[in-house]
């Protein structure tokens, strides 16, 4: 679909959340490292959250109340990562000074105005990802800007906040979170809705990302930076999309959301054309198990055997609309199914727009319409299989969502899928209810902390780029790649500590960019390679104990099996001298003598192949070739 974003009045705002690499969490002394062991045997606690109806700050307070009611939350409490503060069993300690200093440094880098006194607030969060039911967050600075080719994008606020718990699964309708991540300091940079195109969203996000990295005080790796977006078009609704972990996805997400909003508006118009009114969509939920008594559908049969029932609701005059694709691979029916899953904890819904199917016969579909006495030519029946309680909740949510289709696009918080499409997550809070965090005294920003923060102020990426070219003689292409590389911040250290005539800055730069990237594209998990390992290996290279080819091979094998001691790999690929080569080649010839004599014309290739298997990366191939050539000359004469 060719879309003219300017005409549609596209407005995108970004919220970039980046974990800071501080020694301890924002409000306690726990480390900021995630738990990596097995979840087995880890302590679990169970909680429920609730909020007074009048305090939800919702347009529809009942909705949010219902959402939280009876929703069991299970927290994993790994030892060494979580204390009473994360458990909400102890008041927060004072705000982490290191995190505050870094945040101020970052804010100064964006020309943002630092507040005089920091007030920590509680922002109500209802999904259980915070044990308290709120996230602690504080504005550190206001205003600022990011320069972009399409114009200046304003920054609204820079906040310091605690990261939420890590969702690790769901069991029987309960959500499971690991508390290790809860409380890690996050900096949140929110832009104004000044972004006008999908590509601009990517450019601005990556520019902010680079600036953050340039502080040297942010965490690396998947999940340490997360992008939220708010997207709107003229006549549409401002939709929040949470938790985009891959930068590259941003343009697609914007594009697909615009597509979704346009489609939903089309559906609305069609419903209006068909004369559907809200009251036509009744709240009745029916037990239709009878219709499926002898069904051939394995899906339904299995569940009926387990004691479940089939429930149905009717969407009057919706026929055909549930088939409408709103995003690639996602139909309007999929949107309804999201609601059923989120609210009822059912595995999904089946609707008559997609029937016959799932082993449900034509006859059964007819019977279903007859059973409920509704019009097969106009209406849609949605069914779901499960317990009464869950199915009722699920279908009630479906009905509510269908009613919302009459007004267009409901206000939602959505979450990004891997392919750039999004799915419903929860109702969108109205004006976020913010309470002062009365357990933490306000913090005065004085010149001392500002001075301390100066060392974290990131340079402007353009300045850095030009410096790389002029000072280190890197090519523009490598410079660009290097700035984006996760290892970029180590480049200066490596050059300072290691570079000499052989080990040039250019070599170091291309190792950190081209070579590691090509390993990654081979599928090697390069995130396992720590900067310490790179330093070790480069030091060995500097001492002349391994070859440059060896460097890549060692890093590759290490990344594939990071438990192996690096010394072992270094030994495996240590350089050998000519005498050693002669010894090895002689041995190969000796043990293959007969075959070599038989296939004399192929002898060189055979010996070379075997020798290189043993000597690859340890010695220059040309030296091996010379030795082989010399030694096979005597073949057949001895």
């Amino acid at each position: 679909m060719e879309i003219n974003y300017e005409e549609l009045g596209l407005r995108v705002g970004l919220e970039i959340h980046q974990q800071l690499d501080t020694a301890s969490k924002l409000f306690c002394s726990c480390p900021t490292k995630l738990f990596e062991g097995s979840e087995e045997g880890v302590t679990r606690i169970e909680r429920y959250l609730r909020i007074a109806k009048s305090e939800t700050g919702e347009i529809d307070p009942a909705a949010i109340y219902e959402y939280m009611k009876g929703r069991k939350i299970i927290y994993l409490v790994p030892r060494g990562h979580v204390c009473s503060v994360e458990l909400d069993e102890e008041p927060p300690h004072e705000l982490n000074r290191e995190a505050l200093t870094v945040a101020i440094g970052i804010a100064l880098g964006f020309k943002s105005k630092i507040v005089d006194e920091v007030h920590v607030m509680r922002k109500i969060v209802v999904d259980g990802s915070n044990t308290t039911g709120f996230q602690r967050t504080a504005i550190i600075a206001l205003g600022g800007e990011v320069l972009d080719d399409e114009g200046v994008v304003r920054i609204q606020t820079i906040c310091l906040e605690e990261d939420a718990a890590r969702k690790v699964g769901e069991v029987d309708g309960a959500v499971v979170y690991n508390l290790d991540r809860l409380g890690i300091p996050l900096i949140e940079i929110s832009t104004a809705p000044d972004i006008r195109s999908p590509e601009q969203a990517l450019r601005v996000a990556s520019k902010i990302g680079i600036m953050l990295r340039l502080t040297g005080k942010v965490k690396r790796g998947l999940g340490t930076i997360r992008q939220d977006l708010n997207i709107s078009i003229k006549g549409g609704t401002k939709i929040e999309i949470k938790g985009v972990q891959r930068l590259e996805l941003l343009p697609k997400i914007v594009e697909y959301e615009v597509m979704r909003q346009l489609k939903l508006l089309e559906i609305r118009d069609e419903l209006i054309k068909r004369g559907v009114r809200k009251e036509d969509i009744t709240s009745n939920i029916y037990d239709v198990t009878e219709v499926f008594r002898d069904t051939k559908s394995k899906l339904i049969r299995d569940k009926l055997r387990a004691g479940c029932k089939v429930y149905a609701c009717v969407l009057k005059k919706f026929k055909g609309l549930l088939k409408v694709e709103v995003q690639p691979g996602r139909r309007f029916g999929t949107e309804l199914a999201d609601y059923a899953r989120e609210w009822g904890g059912v595995s999904g819904i089946i609707h008559t727009d997609e029937l016959p199917g799932y082993g449900i016969s034509d006859a059964e579909v007819h019977n279903l319409f007859k059973f409920l006495n509704v019009d097969e030519g106009e209406d849609v029946i949605v069914i779901t299989v499960g317990t009464e309680d869950r199915c009722t909740r699920a279908l009630k949510a479906v009905i509510d969502r269908a009613r919302d289709a009459l007004s267009g696009i409901p206000k939602e918080t959505r979450v990004a899928n891997e392919d750039g499409t999004t799915r419903y997550m929860r109702p969108q809070p109205g004006a976020a209810r913010m309470y002062p965090e009365t357990d933490i005294p306000p913090i005065t920003i004085d010149s001392r902390i500002i001075n301390e923060a100066l060392k974290y102020v990131p340079k402007d990426p353009n300045t850095v780029y030009e410096e790389l070219i002029s000072k280190y003689s890197l090519s523009p292409e490598i410079s660009k790649q290097l700035i984006r590389s996760p290892y970029f911040i180590y480049f200066y250290d490596l050059v300072r500590e290691l570079s000499d005539e052989e080990l040039t800055p250019q070599y170091i730069a291309s190792l950190l960019t081209i070579h590691l990237r090509s390993l990654k594209s081979e599928g090697v998990p390069t995130e396992n390679i720590s900067i310490e390992v790179i330093k070790d290996v480069l030091n060995t290279l500097k001492r002349g104990e391994i070859s440059k080819d060896g460097v890549i091979q060692i890093l590759k094998e290490y990344a594939l099996d990071p438990k192996k001691p690096i010394e072992e790999l270094i030994k495996k690929y240590s350089k050998v001298d000519v005498n050693e080569v002669i010894k090895i080649v002689s041995k190969i010839i000796e043990s293959n003598r007969e075959e070599l004599i038989k296939r004399k014309d192929k002898a060189f290739n055979i010996v070379m192949g075997l020798a290189m298997k043993e000597l690859r990366y340890r010695v220059d191939g040309r030296i091996v070739a010379d030795v082989v050539r010399n030694l096979i000359r005597d073949l057949g004469q001895g």
Binding site: I45, E46, R47, Y48, L49, R50, I51, A52, K53, S54, E55, M68, G70, K72, S84, L87, D88, E89, E90, P91, V115, D116, E117, V118, H119, M121, R122, K123, I124, V126, T131, T132, G133, F134, T137, A138, I139, L142, T157, C159, A431, A432, R433, M434, Y435, P436, T438, P441, P442, T444
Partner: protein
């Protein structure tokens, strides 16, 4: 926004449209007054006014609100703490309460529990007594947690022959937090008040840090043993009377040693408490003059929180002997928390007994303090006071300590 007690001078706190507060210096700033407003302040007296919400069952539950975390809410606009509760507030937060019965909330006090005094115990006892006599089906007292077990003990002695349970309830996380323990605790308190077979004063609080059950502790045997955890309240030298399991709200008894409900006409109200009673903690450098001072100031009772089996530095014995001679009732408890006083084992203990110090058996120091205060106010002759002090009245003394009464900690395995 009103400034906080921590804010620096010259800083104004602004609430931005996104809900955040920030502090901005007004030095060299241009300030224009657009509108004036004020922050509501609250007195400590609720005056006993009551609010009422009709429920869907026939029962009537009276909730006496005395203050503390459980009834206070932070107002999100100002950050001010509203220290009182109405029945509507309560139902707004815990709509399920309506299924249990009609709810009446009596706004008696709005004080933090550290500010409670024996005078407050007396009026709480009177209000509770009146409510019971008026025929309500359940009585619950919402109370701050710091001294909740003192008030529970006080009510346990002041309300003799209870025809129904009196349930004290508090919370460790205020009700304005979605993670508050107050909803579960309150539900459990109301369920207990309606269903329990006993006529005792109890405390209903979280049993673990999960929301899986609430324990119902005997008021005279419970102690807050953690400064912040929601399972801070645990029974000491006894087991809880009952638990209420969630989410199914099932009430089950776990202790078969309890005072059964009496007839309503058997209820006797004895709400007086002697204020001239003190607790003295024994410590290595203790100066006997502390005891002399209390005697000179005409204190009528002294509870010693002794070391180990019930000891105090030898240097104090002379002062204690004098105290007893002058008519002060001196009793001994132990600061070890768990276990029983036994003053026959070591010389110091024997000397103390000879001086007239009464052993408090396995009573908690705070229970002994409340009991002594109550005895001194309600019985005129010292002999009755002394005799009743060492005698079990409401299971404040447990003669049998089985092994499982003592908790287990993490020991590396």
């Amino acid at each position: 926004m009103p400034s906080t007690e921590f804010s620096r001078e010259g800083i104004v706190i602004l609430k931005l449209s996104n809900g955040y507060n920030v502090g901005i210096s007004i030095k060299d700033a241009y300030v224009e007054v657009v509108k004036e407003g004020y922050v509501k302040t609250y007195t400590e007296e609720g005056g006993g006014t009551s609010t009422y919400v009709r429920g869907s069952s026939d029962s009537l539950i009276s909730i006496v609100s005395t203050g503390g975390t459980i009834v206070s809410r932070v107002e999100y606009e100002t950050g001010a703490v509203k220290p009182a509760l109405t029945a509507e507030d309560l139902i707004d937060f815990i709509p399920e309460l309506k299924d249990l019965g009609s709810i009446e909330v009596i706004d008696l006090y709005r004080i933090l529990s550290e500010n409670m005094t024996p005078k407050h115990w007396s009026s709480i006892a009177e209000v509770v007594g009146k409510k019971i006599l008026s025929g309500v089906d359940g009585v619950v007292v919402a109370h701050g947690t710091d001294t909740m077990s003192y008030t529970a003990s006080a009510l346990a002695f002041a309300l003799r022959n209870l025809p129904q349970p009196v349930v004290l309830v508090g919370s460790q996380r205020s009700s304005d937090r979605p993670s508050s323990d107050s909803a579960l605790n309150l539900l459990a308190a109301v369920i207990t008040s309606l269903n329990a077979p006993f006529g005792e004063v109890v405390v209903a609080m979280h049993g673990t840090i999960s929301d899986n059950y609430v324990l119902v502790h005997r008021g005279v045997k419970v102690r807050k043993i953690h400064s912040s955890r929601r399972d801070a309240f645990q029974s000491i030298n006894d087991i809880p009377l009952a638990k209420v399991i969630f989410p199914d709200k099932r009430f089950i008894m776990i202790n078969n040693r309890f005072l059964s409900r009496c007839r309503k006409d058997e209820l006797i109200l004895m709400p007086k408490f002697e204020e001239k009673v003190s607790i003295v903690k024994a410590y290595p450098g203790i100066d006997p003059e502390i005891i002399d001072f209390l005697v000179d100031r005409r204190f009528k009772g002294i509870v010693i929180e002794g070391t180990g089996l019930g000891h105090i530095n030898d240097s104090c014995i002379e002062s204690l002997r004098r105290a007893v001679e002058e008519g002060v009732v001196v009793v001994m408890t132990t600061q070890t928390i768990f276990g029983r006083v036994n003053m026959n084992v070591y010389t110091t203990g024997r000397k103390l007994l000879l001086s007239g110090v009464l052993p408090g058996s396995d009573m908690l120091a705070e229970t002994a303090y409340v009991k002594l205060s109550w005895l001194l106010a309600n019985f005129n002759d010292l002999d009755s006071v002394k005799k009743l002090f060492t005698k079990n009245m409401v299971y404040e003394i447990n003669e049998v300590h089985e092994d499982y009464l003592y908790p287990r900690w993490y020991h590396g395995d």
